[in-house]
């Protein structure tokens, strides 16, 4: 069968890696396309973006898909690498990171918070596959309550970062993020709009993008690995912010938009260095 590459693939992605080796029916490709679409609508070229990835399905399946320069960090550390890189790169280069939920909200949360604190100029796209799926399907810190996974055979009962009254978005807002949004893989164009805002922010942006994992999450929690089934299930539990229903898991939309409200990390650093050089003080 001949693979029909779209214009987006031709312009931005490496055909050696796209289509990726993700399982058939995986929702990652939907989110990946949302991001590429946003980049394209912003008129950015491959030379404008350095693409970083992390560990797990989201990281590995997006690594080296970008036609431009790309790097992958160890588990949870890419937010620290990206801060150093941000300071070293020219200001006109953008950094986009595609990472998993375990990476961002588990092992890397401390570094993520400090990236938000410093308003480091990069965009984190959290491709949330509802848990640790590349290791076979264990629950993560934004896995829906009650979900049956390989490490929660009786249902996930711990408090987590999306439990009632709790939200990782609140943590990141408090930490100083200047753009935050959440969109599931069923959100389509609304997600593209948010990613565009995120990437255009001269500061720390994060878009949380849960997507269906039919192979592990679907088969354990929903009883089958039917891709359409889990997509429908996700759609049923998704509602726009302010229109939540009792069974809403993911309220989607822009959570926080403070773009331009305070200086970005590398700008602050280089402006300060310049001042110290000129005057000997700040």
């Amino acid at each position: 069968m001949q693979y029909q590459s779209s214009a987006l693939v031709d312009d931005y992605l490496r055909t050696r890696k796209i289509p990726s080796t993700a399982c058939s029916g995986c929702g990652l490709g939907i989110n990946h396309k949302v991001v590429i679409q946003a980049i394209s609508e912003l008129g950015l070229k491959t030379k404008d973006i350095i693409w970083g990835t992390a560990i797990g399905c989201a990281g590995r399946q997006t690594f080296a898909t970008w036609k431009g320069d790309g790097f992958a960090g160890t588990h949870g550390r890419v937010y620290a690498i990206a801060r150093g890189l941000r300071v070293a790169l020219p200001r006109d280069k953008k950094i986009v990171l595609t990472v998993g939920d375990g990476d961002a909200f588990g092992i890397g949360l401390l570094h993520l918070i400090h990236a938000a604190r410093s308003n480091a100029g990069f965009t984190v796209i959290v491709m949330d596959n509802l848990g640790y799926q590349s290791t076979g399907g264990q629950f993560g810190f934004t896995t829906p309550q009650g979900a049956k996974t390989d490490s929660s055979p009786y249902g996930m009962f711990e408090h987590n970062l999306m439990s009632e009254g709790m939200d990782v978005m609140h943590i990141l807002k408090g930490a100083g993020a200047t753009f935050l949004a959440r969109h599931t893989a069923t959100d389509g164009l609304a997600a593209v709009e948010s990613v565009k805002k995120a990437i255009s922010n001269n500061g720390f942006s994060l878009v949380h993008m849960p997507y269906p994992c039919p192979t592990n999450f679907g088969s354990r929690h929903l009883g089958n690995r039917n891709a359409v089934n889990i997509l429908r299930w996700m759609q049923k539990h998704t509602a726009p912010l302010g229109q939540e229903k009792p069974d809403t898991i993911w309220a989607t939309g822009v959570y926080h938009d403070a773009r331009g409200s305070r200086p970005e990390l590398s700008e602050l650093v280089w402006d300060s260095v310049g001042k110290i050089r000129r005057t000997g003080k700040l």
Partner: protein, 391 residues
């Protein structure tokens, strides 16, 4: 040339700047804090950046990021922070990111004694991360002036071999005040034997050739070369791959670019009274070597045929210094004996290798003299209960 009465940390800071360092990221820890403080003062004056991270793991990752973006970078810590480098150190080795890592040793295990010198990370600097399949370079100066030279050299080696280089010191070395000369121009740099290698970037597409060659420029982001680097096994172009043969090529480069280019680091040692095949060779590195050198001079003045071998290049371990069958005494700032194990391995099987341990404080000259005399007279080294277990 400017002269100062200053600490080892001052010398390290000035050395780093001379070596081209323009990015330092650290996390406060005794006794490396003063180095971070000195960097925070000096770097902005030379258009450099000082950042403080949330922990040591992040600090070295920030250095990785800065290095990927073209800045010569450095971090510094002590043992409890060095262990948190395990994660980024592996990444920097695997992705071949040049940078310099300073470890100012204190007394362990764990937090141990914060304000006293120790040498507990001899092996840790050889194996600073998991997974194996790499070679590392560790350099250990013994004076403030030598700190300056070794840091410049570490930056030089890190560029030519595209890898992190560890400089191992201890609390006395970094905190102690000494006379330091700092060169003020290129001629003075040359005069002092200081070499600098510029940061270059790889133009691709074969970012990871299966080669032990020197001077393959590092993989850099931002030049739109399609550069790739990751924690996975790379293909020649940098794509992640799960294949034994590709992995073998990768590991070959990581190991043999260092092993096959010993001319770059093998001259880093110091020998005293070693020309007449001494009956006893005292082996040490770092600050204890200062006392050892004095003790060996004393021994010579008393007619004892003792020589001193001070290692500066600790890793790759310089086996060739230990080919002669004689007596070796290894003096270290730890009680468990680390360097002594390597000396035992490298020395002829029937050579006598003994250990004199000390921790938190330097060995005394009377202690050293007593041990020299006993070894030369073939007397057993005394067991001093918990103080000294004869090795």
């Amino acid at each position: 040339m400017k002269r100062f009465l200053e600490t080892g940390n001052f010398a390290i800071t000035e050395g780093a700047i001379l070596g081209g360092c323009r990015f330092f990221c650290g996390y406060p820890i005794t006794p490396a804090t003063e180095l971070a403080e000195a960097m925070s003062l000096r770097l902005p004056q030379v258009n450099g950046v000082y950042l403080q991270a949330e922990d040591e793991c992040a600090a070295m990752h920030l250095c990785i990021g800065a290095s990927l973006g073209g800045m010569k970078s450095m971090t510094a810590t002590s043992g409890p922070g060095f262990i948190l480098y395990a994660d980024p150190y592996g990444w920097a080795l695997g992705c071949e990111a040049p940078m310099v890592v300073m470890n100012s040793g204190r007394v362990g295990p764990v937090s141990g004694i914060t304000g006293a010198p120790g040498q507990g990370e001899f092996y840790l600097t050889r194996y600073p991360t998991q997974g194996g399949n790499f070679e590392t370079i560790t350099l250990a100066p013994n004076s403030a002036q030598e700190c300056l030279k070794i840091i410049v050299e570490a930056f030089y080696l890190s560029e030519r071999l595209r890898m992190p280089i560890t400089v191992l010191g201890d609390q006395l070395l970094t905190d102690g005040m000494e006379d330091i000369s700092v060169p003020e121009n290129d001629d003075e740099m040359k005069e002092m034997g200081l070499r600098v290698w510029p940061r270059l970037y790889h133009k691709g597409p074969d970012f990871y050739p299966a080669s032990d060659a020197l001077d393959i420029p590092p993989v850099q982001m931002g030049y739109d070369t399609g550069a790739l680097c990751s924690d996975w096994t790379p293909t020649v172009e940098g794509y992640d791959i799960e294949e034994v043969e590709e992995h073998h090529k990768h590991a070959y480069r990581l190991i043999y670019k260092v092993r096959n280019n010993p001319q770059l680091y093998e001259d880093f040692y110091e020998k005293k009274y070693m020309d007449d095949d001494p009956d006893l060779v005292v082996v040490s590195y770092g600050t204890p070597s200062r006392v050892v050198n004095t003790a060996v001079e004393r021994a010579r003045s008393e007619g004892l045929k003792v020589g001193a071998l001070r290692l500066i290049n600790l890793w790759p371990f310089p086996d060739r210094h230990f080919s002669r069958k004689t007596k070796y005494l290894v003096v270290e700032l730890n009680w468990d004996g680390q360097l002594v194990r390597e000396v035992q391995r490298a020395a002829p099987k029937d050579a006598e290798v003994k250990f004199l341990g000390c921790c938190g404080d330097l060995p005394t000259i009377p202690d050293l003299m007593e041990t020299f005399t006993k070894m030369l007279k073939n007397q057993p080294l005394e067991r001093k209960g918990w103080v000294l277990e004869a090795w």
